[in-house]
Symmetry: D2
Subunit: 128 residues, 4 copies
């Protein structure tokens, strides 16, 4: 019987299904960070940028849901100057939650700036 693409892909993996779910979460969080950091952001386009990051993430393999909030750091200094009307998106402005479903295993991950670490941490909330 001919294998479907998911089965062909599975033959490449040397890990169990929960580890696979964790791996898929990591891919999506690493991807969204490095795809969108650097984008020009202002109070006028925060929402459309949040939706675009969500919708591009949700198209990727095994993603069930994505929620993105951009924290408008650095926008408060805003002046009438054309140069200060926006900032570039940085990792510490992102609060992103991604849920994957791999063969019935649900895993939820998050990218969030952790003040105590002064670092935009990507972590797994749960796998179940």
């Amino acid at each position: 019987m001919k294998k479907n693409p998911e089965e062909i892909a599975e033959d490449y993996f040397g890990c169990n299904d929960r580890e696979r779910a964790a791996f898929e979460l990591g891919i999506k969080l690493g991807a969204l960070f490095h795809q969108f950091v650097g984008a020009p952001v202002s109070s006028e386009n925060i929402e459309v940028l949040e939706r675009a990051i969500e919708k591009t993430t949700e198209r990727q393999a095994f993603v069930k849901n994505a929620e993105v909030h951009i924290i408008p750091k650095g926008l408060e200094r805003r002046t009438e100057s054309v140069f200060h009307d926006y900032t570039t998106l940085s990792g510490d402005m992102l609060d992103a939650t991604v849920e994957v479903d791999f063969k019935g295993i649900n895993a939820k991950g998050r990218l969030k700036y952790v003040e105590e670490l002064d670092y935009p941490l990507m972590y797994i909330e749960y796998i179940k």
Copy 2:
């Protein structure tokens, strides 16, 4: 008298205002290409991605208007597989028009795949 930010910036430039307008157009087209190429795109998120590219471009200095169309190449092969449900945005899928206004000079530029060149060309339609 204190200079405003635009005047401070102008002191750095060794060119005339039309050349400056051309330069600003180039920046915006180069930026949007390299910021968004690689993003996952499917028929479900094309529109929100188009709006996000427009809105992030419009926030940048001197931009009056931006219009972006994504040509859905490579999405027709779509199957039920989770791997083929989307493609990654490439330069030849982008048709983007940007207008800048620098001190009353209007310049319009475009990024468009030119079949004859097999190349996503960035060009200036006019400066006036």
Copy 3:
């Protein structure tokens, strides 16, 4: 006793150490894909770009080793034209191997174009 940053981070995680290792691998592969796809590449700069991707990946948390090969697809059409002297890096040109060590657990992952899937697959070779 004061916790160190790694311990503070661990409190955020709801998964075991092998799953964490899998997650860290995913982050690195997702990151390198979306950071570098779109970069201009030609036979003259393939090597320096490969080294840059390796070295930027190796600086990230828990990475022991990274190896990157860029397959020069699309460069053979090369002509004397300034437009065809290079191409932009796409996912199917990347063959990247990343090894992480999380608390003694070794995990190896890879990004490679799989012809049978017509897809740049990211997978875990092993976790041990």
Copy 4:
């Protein structure tokens, strides 16, 4: 007589050669900023990243020379933690000079953080 690619491209442009040179400079500076911002950077990989940005820029149409320096801001806080061993490249860490030659017209542009503006300014040094 058959037109070459450069001639085909020129038919799209509604501007003079100096403006074209300015436009090409803008493209390259916008491109390098948005391609590489977000990359992980540490004292160990600054040099290879600088060379990669130079070499990818130099492959693009009409570029004669590119020089890139990364100012290691944010690396001084370095500790023994795996999270603080690097930072992500931001626009204000970049000092990049690009020279283009379009039909004998030489133009030099630069991306540099300007303290007075608190802004990574892209500007044209000269066109001649």
